[in-house]
């Protein structure tokens, strides 16, 4: 690096490095003239802090790590973007780590994060072992949307998944549907369970039973959703609508429906979850439950910064971000 150091600036300004540092950090202890002279030299030689050196001394790196399963997924990308937009103006840089939810990768990550001395971590992934490890290492952390029942020491930001499931189901009921298929992730994870609970309660409220033949847990994947719908049709199971627990699953389901000559929404109504961009361009445009990814990212950032600054790990209650129904053409 050809950059000039504080030492050289000091010599040029005829002061000590201490004074230069003080001027740089506005920490007082210098006269106005000295300040001006130093500032002038700083400017003239285009001084840039060596962040690495500063980090070593202060043990603050001004970095935040984000762990996501897959940045390629718009949902995660939007959250990551919100986090960057929050932290970047505050002088932080963002490390991004894709785990693909592979446990080995996650295990390595926590070491790397600590080695690099990140100031905080936003975790949006599956294995809660990482957050627990982070907690042990006193690394400030918040999780998004992956609450586990037992982990009350970790703050979790989550969408109101229960309400989402309820609203989605209610929308279909309001359209006169009575045989509502729910395609959900087979994994026993809180967000999915909550959506399912909302589904059940909406039915219950309407006085309808939960027909387990219509509850379809699948491994989370577009083509599985399509297969699932095909099986329903092939087995002549009666249904008039589908609540897919993610928009991608909804797209898979719609594709299968079309291939079997079903019209949407005339024959079968479909509702998704997440509200990703493509829902506006699918045919028909997808009715869905909006998750406020920006708020999720923002709220997580705010709380994380709080933990980082206060250096205290508050038993903060989990934050629930409201969801909303986005009515389009598929219901």
């Amino acid at each position: 690096m050809a950059t000039i150091t504080i030492k050289e600036i000091a010599k040029l300004a005829g002061v000590s490095t201490a004074t230069v540092s003080r001027v740089l950090n506005n920490s007082g202890g210098y006269s106005d003239e000295t300040k001006l002279r130093v500032l002038e030299i700083l400017e003239k030689f285009n001084y840039q802090t060596n962040v690495v050196a500063k980090s070593l001394r202060t043990s603050l790196t001004k970095t935040v790590g984000i762990i996501v399963p897959d940045i390629t997924n718009e949902y995660y990308a939007l959250i990551a973007l919100a986090i960057e937009n929050y932290f970047s103006p505050k002088g932080y840089s963002i490390y991004i780590y894709n785990t693909n939810e592979e446990p080995e990768k996650e295990r390595l990550l926590i070491r790397d994060l600590e080695s690099r001395g990140v100031d905080g971590l936003v975790y949006i992934s599956g294995k809660m072992s990482v957050p627990r490890e982070a907690l042990k290492k006193r690394l400030p952390i918040v999780c998004i949307n992956r609450r586990e029942e037992m982990s009350e020491e970790i703050t979790v930001i989550e969408s109101d998944n229960y309400q989402g499931g309820f609203l989605a189901t209610e929308e279909l009921l309001n359209q006169g549907c009575t045989n509502i298929v729910i395609i959900r992730d087979e994994r026993d994870i809180v967000p999915m369970n909550e959506r399912y609970r909302g589904y059940c309660d909406a039915l219950k409220k309407k006085g309808l039973p939960v027909n387990l033949e219509l509850v379809k847990p699948i491994s989370f994947n577009v083509s599985h959703a399509a297969e699932c719908v095909e099986n329903l049709i092939r087995n002549h199971i009666q249904f008039d609508s589908i609540f897919a627990c993610s928009d991608m699953l909804a797209f898979g389901a719609m594709q299968a429906l079309r291939e079997h000559g079903k019209r949407i929404p005339e024959d079968i109504k479909v509702i998704g979850f997440d509200n990703i961009t493509f829902g506006r361009y699918s045919h028909p445009q997808l009715t869905t439950i909006n998750q406020d990814k920006e708020r999720l990212g923002e709220a997580a950032s705010e709380i994380l910064l709080n933990i980082m600054e206060k250096k205290e790990r508050p038993k903060q209650p989990n934050i629930v971000i409201p969801v909303s129904l986005v009515k389009r053409k598929s219901t």
Copy 2:
């Protein structure tokens, strides 16, 4: 941080920090017994390198920065992912920066990157001022898909945009189309110009003229594509197909076509560019030109690492990644 340092390890093992460091880096100069003893202590106390300190000493941070316009865009996300997958096993961490192509943001970035001492930079964005600045600062850099005519000192990885434009147009011609609308980005940037050149040449090869009434430069945005198609229809301009220079634009165009009762592909055929995931789930499924985002990211990474290691900035010829036609249902 509660982590143990090299100094403490040294004391515990009864050696100097120099020896511990040598063992850590496998640089020789110690007996087998010493090595074993040190390794044992290292293991026992779960030593982790302080990367910040190491970086300060070696002036290598083992970080790579990625500058993208918008990580929320699947195209960029896939490239970024490929880059991470390349560098991460080599011990690098990835900084990600979204610029939204805002010039001020980009200008700030280059300073930050240098301050943080990133070892290399992959640049996928618009303003070539950043790469030039990086070059001046001797920061290893490669660009993706934004070649400018005059900047031969910077290595650029790009898709074969000309070939893509040619293939797309040829596909429509093969389907019997003669009035092919091209919806392109209005900006005078190399990738778009190349796609357009491919379009022109494919027509020429077939002995057809370029009808400028069918050449539609728009500001890059889905709804503008829709408007553009509406205008064509409203003005009764004859066309039998559309080559949209990005899949997103194709979706906008298809939506407008549907709203005007045009069937795809029976009435109007549509082809896109990029091959983003959603093209498989649109209706009809979108025929498109595949950009190999993984190879783009990989190739960029390889070359970047090369520059980083050799510390030389070779006048490397630009790398062109092949594209291919993905035939689906919209043509």
